[in-house]
């Protein structure tokens, strides 16, 4: 059972000038998010993450393609009772106090009076804002707003939680709290779909990720699978008492050589050359300290996709300019 299914989702924004073509923010995006999954939606600035989330929440209409949440078309009013949403850098009614604010959203979600009072306290505790409960939101700091925004998204105990960059604006402790919160939501059987450009967060908690660039989904799958697909695992070799300067053989093998005092760090692009390098170090009378296979991270994949995208787009741009 999939909680989110998008099929060939596209969105063009009118340019606002007659004659100028519309801007394509999303281009045939298809992805699925299973029940009980934490899905990380990854992409650089302007990739179309927020646009996708807005379409899912019915705030923006797709130009073409379909999106379904919990088996209903995106934007279905009744289904929203089962969905929680935190927008990007959230803005709220700043004349309300934290308590009134959560009460307002709870009542909108149809909670009754008794259930609400309990729930508000529970959530204020969860996001660590109990002392600020009677403070107006206009007096909140950025991170506090992010926290109250999260509480707002969870007030009605939704099955599916959609978060747009939930970690931005939070301190390291807050970040960890949010990560733990997302994990505990999954433990309760909830589905979490969140966008971010912080790779570390994704690597740590997501079951699956999708990488979006220029409105297109360029990769998606389990984090370990995506990373394993990437065969160019580099190896870091550290040794001592070795004169690397002028050693053409080592320089030809390595992608990077760093001499720091006595120690020398040699980075090999593939594990194949390790034997050859170790032999050379022995021959030169160096002392081997460590050999560390550097597991390719999501970050490498991310940059690799970004570079490919750039090399695909750049020639077009330059040739366009030449003509």
């Amino acid at each position: 059972m999939d909680d989110i299914v998008t099929d060939n989702l596209s969105k063009s924004y009118a340019s606002g000038w007659p004659g100028r073509p519309p801007f394509v923010a999303l281009d045939g995006l298809s992805l699925t998010v299973g029940r009980g999954e934490i899905f990380g939606f990854l992409g650089p600035n302007g990739a179309g993450k927020t646009t996708t989330l807005k379409i899912l929440m019915g705030l923006v209409r797709a130009t073409s393609g379909t999106a379904q949440l919990l088996g209903q078309p995106a934007g279905d009013v009744a289904t929203r009772r089962r969905i929680g949403f935190l927008p990007e850098s959230p803005y709220f009614y700043d004349y309300l106090t934290a308590e009134e604010f959560l009460g307002f959203y709870g009542r909108l979600a149809g909670l009754n009076h008794a259930a609400l009072a309990l729930r508000v306290t529970e959530l204020l505790e969860l996001v660590g804002l109990v002392e600020a409960r009677t403070r107006q939101l206009r007096k909140f700091s950025k991170g506090m707003l992010q926290r109250i925004g999260l509480a707002q998204a969870l007030i009605h105990d939704p099955e599916l939680i959609v978060l747009d960059e939930p970690m931005t604006g939070l301190d390291p402790i807050g970040r960890k709290q949010v990560r733990d919160l997302i994990l505990s939501l999954r433990d309760c059987g909830k589905t979490v779909f969140f966008s971010t450009h912080i790779l570390h967060d994704v690597e740590m908690i997501c079951d699956r990720v999708g990488i979006v660039m220029k409105g297109r989904l360029v990769a998606s799958g389990r984090v370990d699978e995506l990373v394993r697909q990437d065969h160019t695992q580099s190896v870091e070799v550290v040794c001592q008492q070795l004169k690397v300067e002028g050693n053409a053989f080592i320089h030809s093998l390595a992608s990077r050589v760093l001499q720091q005092g006595q120690q020398c760090l040699i980075v090999l692009p593939t594990p194949d050359a390790v034997d050859a390098l170790v032999g050379e170090i022995r021959r030169q009378g160096g002392r081997l300290l460590s050999v560390t296979p550097h597991k390719a991270s999501l970050e490498d994949l991310f940059f690799q996709e970004a570079t490919q995208e750039a090399t695909r787009v750049l020639p077009q741009m330059t040739s366009g300019r030449a003509s």
Binding site: M57, L59, F104
Partner: protein, 254 residues
């Protein structure tokens, strides 16, 4: 249905915490009080001036509040992006607009009630007779305010705050002139001007119909049927505008 109420109560609460409204209502009180100073007239003239000025002050301040809160009601939500979390809730866009409108109507009602109380107090202090016609005039002022609010809300669903203010103000002025314009060109032969004035007359709200302040101030009551029909006209007009606002709002991207 509950959601409309939640939105309305919150819109009301928002305006209660907005200091500008207090200032405007205070200003209306001042204007009403000021009418007393224009007293260098015969006693009947004096009474008429106090009633006239009081009603005018209530009308003008009410319309100003209606325009300025009306245009920002929905626009502010979009510009400040507070709309995102609201629209992510199980409430339809139509209910959101209705809730906002009802909340503002409630605010305007309370404001009018305060101004009305100050007005009656002034009349009583200066022994001005309180005719039933004054109540009729006030009722129609409130209907006019409801129409103006709907106009402001309608424009604000698709244009910027500034343009909405200009359009609403424009429609308000035209709405008071169309009836006069029409009778002016009625004698002329038919022509493009006449058709244009006819078009304006039927499209714009005939706000002059809702203005019986002049006769009310001298104690001439209007026929109850007229008050009823005029109110009905205003409410139906507001209803059409709100429907339009909902239809436009339904199509919007945020």
């Amino acid at each position: 249905m509950g959601a409309i109420g939640v939105i309305a109560v919150n819109a009301f609460r928002e305006s209660l915490r907005d200091k500008i409204l207090y200032n405007l209502v205070l200003f209306a009180g001042l204007l009403i009080g000021l009418s007393v100073l224009l007293a260098d007239l015969s006693i009947t003239e004096h009474h008429k001036v106090i009633a006239d000025m009081g009603l005018a002050a209530i009308n003008v301040i009410g319309v100003i509040i209606a325009i300025f809160v009306g245009i920002s009601l929905v626009n502010k939500e979009i510009e400040r992006r507070t709309i995102y979390t609201i629209m992510a809730r199980p409430i339809s866009r139509t209910f959101f607009i209705m809730g906002k409108y009802l909340g503002l109507a409630l605010t305007l009602f309370v404001n009018m009630a305060i101004m009305w109380a100050v007005f009656l107090l002034t009349l009583w202090l200066y022994h001005v007779p309180i005719h039933p016609s004054l109540f009729q005039a006030a009722a129609l002022i409130f209907v006019e305010i409801l129409v103006v609010t709907a106009v402001a809300l309608f424009f604000s669903t698709f244009t910027s705050t500034t343009l909405s203010a200009i359009f609403t103000l424009g429609l308000y002025v035209i709405g008071h002139l169309t009836a006069d314009l029409r009778s002016m060109v009625a004698n002329h032969e038919s022509g493009p001007i006449k058709s244009l004035v006819d078009l304006l007359y039927y499209v714009c709200p005939n706000l002059d119909m809702l203005n019986i302040k002049g006769q009310a101030a001298v104690g001439i009551a209007a026929a109850p049927e007229f008050v009823l029909m005029a109110s009905l006209y205003g409410l139906v007009y507001a209803g059409f505008l709100l429907t339009g606002a909902c239809l436009v709002f339904q199509q919007r991207d945020f």
